[in-house]
Subunit: 237 residues, 2 copies
């Protein structure tokens, strides 16, 4: 958050607390991003050890969510923030819920990587999943950058990328359905690819949610459940 925004606080300690919350969200986001990166690596490089690490480390994401949530509650109770400070705390509470669910999806991809390590690998080496995974990781990074700078324009740009992710996801799904119909022996492997694609696509949705909280913080306007055009109008106002 902009230092100037913070400077109006009479209590220096309150500034420190808000800044601390922000830092912790970004640290949690960085950890989750790493989890996605590792899950995709496990899938693309057939590395079971990395996959297992992703799975066992998910509890850390959960612990971060609980700890930050608790800190938000304490700030609310002790500081009784108003206006943009209150919006910041609420945006944090919502953002960490999405980060935690992104963590769950990364864990799911890790599990699929283990399933897929047990069957023959296709020539593609799951490059389509790697590509989709890289895209949603990029989205999450963009969402966290927008959060770090509380930049509504940047948030809108990231939210727009979700359309590309959705299109790519639909393409993978169509391709997988064809695979299955061609050869029923492919069914189990193909379903695992589909579940992975679905998990990655969900990560894109959660990243978009985070962008919406950024816009909500900056503009004081709830843009969830609106179209990209409506979001754009809100920001340009």
């Amino acid at each position: 958050m902009d230092k100037k925004r913070l400077s109006h606080h009479i209590s220096r300690q309150f500034n420190v607390e808000l800044e601390d919350l922000r830092t912790k969200v970004l640290a949690m986001g960085g950890f989750v991003e790493q989890q996605i990166e590792n899950a995709i690596k496990a899938l693309a490089e057939n590395d079971i050890e990395i996959a297992e690490n992703v799975i066992t480390q998910d509890y850390q994401v959960n612990a971060l969510e609980v700890a930050i949530d608790e800190e938000c509650l304490q700030v609310l109770a002790r500081r009784q923030p108003a206006a943009s400070d209150l919006r910041l705390v609420v945006a944090v509470i919502k953002t960490i819920t999405d980060l935690e669910r992104i963590g769950d999806q990364a864990e799911r991809v890790g599990r699929m990587a283990i399933h897929l390590s047990e069957v023959e690998r296709p020539k593609s080496q799951y490059s389509e999943l790697k590509h989709l995974g890289d895209q949603v990781r990029e989205m999450l990074r963009g969402a966290l950058d927008a959060f770090a700078r509380m930049d509504a324009e940047a948030a809108l740009d990231v939210a727009r990328q979700d359309l590309t992710v959705d299109r790519e996801y639909e393409g993978i799904m169509r391709q997988m359905i064809t695979h299955m119909m061609e050869d029923p022996r492919n069914v189990k492997r193909t379903l695992d690819v589909m579940w992975s694609a679905r998990a990655l696509e969900r990560i894109g949705d959660h990243a978009r949610n985070i962008c919406e909280y950024v816009i909500y913080f900056v503009k004081g306007k709830d843009v969830r459940h609106t179209s990209l055009e409506q979001m754009e109008d809100e920001i340009r106002k």
Copy 2:
């Protein structure tokens, strides 16, 4: 919420506001429950009109989420609640996020009902989905009852049901995989059944989340990401 709990408020108006929040959450929950019921009905009875209604009405669920969220913010800003009042408001903020996502899953089931209306129906008339759907609707109703009475024991009972739902979901998935392998012409229809089952299973997870917020409100203890045994220990303490 227990009337006695509320009675400590000096401001009668504050009581009215908290009571109003609670009522609105229950109304939103009731609407979402109806959406699930209709989505399952559309699927089981091959009724496209009902399915379309579920889809077009989802915007109402979204609107309720945004409105209640806004009201929570106003209560936080104006009343600066502490202790159990603060926990109530935070529990409301979290509960409506899950209710909104349950609404999305009901919409998804509605879409699948439309897809499935275009292909031949199996003898079962999708009774396995109807059964799973009835179970998760029961879970949601139980979670809302526990929320209405802020009853941690009842919440724990409902959270326990998620195990049965998960087992039933796994059973459907295994059965569908067998179907697909037996006859590749079944692939598309079977995938739609799988997506529906998945959506219903997710509803169970969201209902369990709501139970966790109830326990959090009553016990002041965050029981997310803990086992049922740990939840039980917390409640019995």
